[in-house]
């Protein structure tokens, strides 16, 4: 008999139609999977009741793959085939990875992303991550007794498009449908229900085993926006263990140590650190292989003293992130603590003192990201309670648009639009008989293409020849839930189509986004002027084009004198187009229009005469009527 979960009122699923969705915290050191059961987000444990899955993958010569605790334990024995912290290589080229030479893996340089040579063949970071995700999927499907509809996977806020795409690819490879990638700090904020809290700015302080991240989030209308992110990729709980380890060596006056003794003392150090979270002092005893006995007591005071510099090292990036966001500590409405290392009382105290408020810490800091992801997955899968109609949305950080004549940006999706988002706009041809159109996709807030960031270019070919302005080209911008952009163009009468998906290597860091935004504000006035100038220039070019076409067609309608005047007006206008004086330009345009007024009237007469020639009046009546009906 199937095991059932309690649904929200009116939401009981039909048999076999339970929408099973999970949240996955794909971490550098450890990963977790969580789901919502009977309205409550819970982390799913393995058979032994362990919630964490070490993000370690081991490849064997026979092709078998192990993930988790077993490979983690045997890491030292077979470092080349035991891949840990693969998240650091996701979507990264060789030059992107710091200290590559000190990492024990056999790297293979591949275009775009490094690969690792193992006994089971060359593996990309995507394949390694997929093994971790697969293990989590198997765990989730066993725990939920069914197939997953999809998963929300968390990524660091600073992950660029390439890293996000790599994460999505890994999920696909693991057979997981990604409902959405979610920023880790946003997930933590959701776990604390901040998405339903008051609007304002929140900080997420994430001190994990080996990395430290600080994110400043702005919540408005249920949408989280990352204002600034920072951190230290080589600072974490492990460093605190190491400080205690060094203290033990000093106090016990033991050295040098065998590697077994080092491991033993590091373990004792970690245990003492954890013990001090709830006690004033921690006993440390160990019998070394040399027979020496280590027997010490670590007090909270000493622990605080030897780790004070580490604590301060986390506050520096916090200050910087606030500065980047243009805020001060007093602007922060709440601080969320994430990562096991934030259990340490001195961390809680330092963060509390800096922000002058009690940090949010009543959820398990190891699980908070996975729990937020599960909450989001449950909503995205459609398991929504009545009246619970909010949906967390991320936003597009910079406007997306395309280049139009004159190098002007036409914004198609404005900044801060919620994603997923799709918008279409119609464009037309500029010249008679134009059969191709270049589409240049740009990102940014400025009015001119040259000041924005170029994302992609493609061409729409095979437009049937028509007069300028008759073709209808529908350009659709589509940003999926993960912020990846697809642009397609379609000529509506003939149906010819072309499209492009923006290459993920164009990711921008938050810093770059911030500076692009600042620029757009600083240059708002210049930009508006330039845009008006360019628009007038394009208008003038169009006029010249039209007059020249008319002259070659109906030149006999002009006397030599008239033709000379029109030609002079054209030359004058051409000179004005090349300059940057908008007033001269409009005057020259007015001149040309005045000179050609009579010419236009004569052309009109000529074409009417042509249409009427040789036709009876009653025929014309019918013809006009038929035309009227059609219109």
């Amino acid at each position: 008999m199937a095991l059932l979960q309690i649904a929200e009122p009116g939401q009981s699923a039909a048999p076999h139609e339970h929408k099973l969705a999970v949240g996955i915290d794909l971490g550098t050191t450890n990963s977790l999977v969580a789901t919502v059961r009977s309205g409550l987000a819970v982390v799913l444990n393995d058979e032994l009741g362990r919630s964490l899955l070490p993000s370690v993958v081991r490849y064997d010569a026979d092709g078998s793959v192990q993930v988790g605790f077993e490979p983690q334990k045997r890491q030292a024995q077979d470092p080349k085939n035991t891949i840990a912290s693969v998240k650091r290589f996701m979507g990264r080229g060789r030059h992107d990875i710091a200290h590559l030479e000190s990492i024990p893996y056999d790297f293979v340089d591949a275009p775009g992303m490094v690969k690792l040579r193992t006994v089971a063949g060359v593996k990309s970071p995507i394949e390694v991550s997929a093994e971790i995700l697969k293990a989590l999927r198997v765990r989730a499907e066993a725990a939920l007794a069914g197939e997953l509809v999809g998963a929300v996977i968390t990524v660091p806020a600073y992950f660029d498009d390439a890293q996000r795409q790599a994460t999505k690819d890994a999920a696909k490879l693991a057979g997981i449908n990604v409902l959405r990638l979610l920023n880790e700090p946003t997930a933590a904020a959701i776990a604390y229900g901040l998405d339903n809290a008051a609007e304002g700015v929140y900080a997420v302080y994430d001190l994990g085993g080996g990395t430290f991240d600080i994110s400043i989030l702005l919540l408005s209308k249920g949408v989280f926006e990352v204002l600034a992110a920072g951190g230290d990729s080589a600072l974490g709980g492990d460093d605190f263990d190491h400080r205690i380890f060094c203290w033990i060596l000093e106090e016990a006056k033991v050295s040098p140590l065998s590697s077994g003794d080092s491991r033993l003392l590091l373990t004792r150090a970690r245990e003492a650190k954890e013990y001090l979270t709830y006690h004033a002092e921690a006993p440390i005893t160990a019998r070394l292989s040399t027979g020496e006995l280590v027997d010490l007591t670590l007090t909270t005071e000493i622990f605080n003293e030897i780790t004070q510099t580490l604590v301060m090292k986390t506050i520096q990036p916090v200050k910087k992130a606030l500065r980047d966001a243009g805020l001060s500590a007093s602007d922060i409405k709440g601080v969320v603590m994430v990562g096991g290392a934030t259990r340490m009382p001195q961390i809680q105290r330092a963060v509390g003192e800096y922000f002058r408020r009690e940090p949010l810490n009543n959820l398990d800091p190891d699980k908070v990201v996975a729990i937020g992801a599960a909450t989001q997955a449950n909503l995205l899968a459609g398991n929504r309670a009545a009246g619970d109609d909010w949906l967390l949305l991320d936003v597009i950080p910079l406007s997306l648009g395309l280049e139009t004549m004159g190098g002007i940006v036409e914004k198609v999706i404005p900044r801060n639009s919620t994603i997923p988002s799709a918008r279409a706009q119609e464009f037309t041809t500029f010249k008679d008989g134009q059969t191709a159109m270049a589409i240049h996709v740009v990102q940014g807030e400025r009015e001119l293409v040259s000041d924005c960031r170029s994302l992609a270019r493609f061409e729409l070919r095979g437009i049937p020849p028509m007069v300028a302005g008759a073709a209808r080209i529908r350009v659709t911008f589509q940003v999926d839930a993960d912020g990846l952009l697809a642009v397609s163009a379609r000529e509506m009468t003939s149906g010819v189509e072309a499209s492009v998906t923006v290459k993920p290597s164009y990711g921008l860091s938050d810093d770059e986004i911030a500076s692009m935004l600042k620029d757009s504000m600083a240059h708002a006035k210049d930009d508006a002027f330039m845009r008006a100038l360019r628009e007038t220039q394009v208008e003038a070019e169009r006029l010249i084009e039209a007059v020249q076409a008319a002259m070659s067609q109906d030149g006999e309608l002009l006397s030599d004198d008239e033709r000379g005047r029109v030609e002079r007006a054209i030359t004058k206008l051409q000179a004005a187009v090349a300059g940057d004086n908008r007033r001269h330009l409009t005057l020259a345009m007015d001149d040309l229009e005045a000179e050609t007024k009579e010419f236009a009237a004569r052309r009109m007469d000529k074409s009417i005469k042509k249409a009427l020639a040789g036709r009876r009046v009653d025929e014309l009546g019918n013809g006009l009527e038929a035309k009227g009906e059609r219109a």
């Binding site: 008999m1 199937a2 095991l3 059932l4 979960q5 309690i6 649904a7 929200e8 009122p9 009116g10 939401q11 009981s12 039909a14 048999p15 076999h16 059961r37 009977s38 309205g39 409550l40 799913l44 444990n45 393995d46 058979e47 765990r139 066993a142 725990a143 939920l144 007794a145």
Partner: protein, 107 residues
């Protein structure tokens, strides 16, 4: 006749309702769908409707609509763990046969 919860089930229900922050009890019911005729309904209840028949079991209020009651009479709701999976289980004496998975049944 009555509908009951095992002590374990009641503990879980009480916990879920407390964490959810609202709700007057647990609604049980059946509806006619599924591969074998009927399917169970198991939901939080935010309000009592006038027709509801209520039962008290280990401190939890159980609500059943009168149309569902004949199919559920004598049912005991248990909380069970099967491997990694866990959830609620209907021990319903009225069931004659169920589909393979037990999510729908006949009386």
């Amino acid at each position: 006749m009555t509908i009951t919860l095992t002590e374990k089930a009641a503990k879980h229900v009480a916990n879920y309702i407390a964490k959810r922050g609202k709700g007057v009890g647990l609604r049980l019911g059946v509806r006619t769908s599924g591969c074998s005729g009927m399917a169970y309904k198991l939901e939080f209840a935010d309000e009592l409707s006038p027709d509801d028949i209520t039962f008290q079991s280990h401190g939890v209020t159980v609500l059943v609509d009168p149309k569902s009651l004949p199919y559920l009479e004598g049912t005991e709701l248990d909380y069970a763990r099967e491997g990694l999976n866990e959830g609620f289980k209907f021990n319903n004496p009225n069931v004659k046969d169920a589909c393979g998975c037990g999510e729908s049944f006949n009386v």
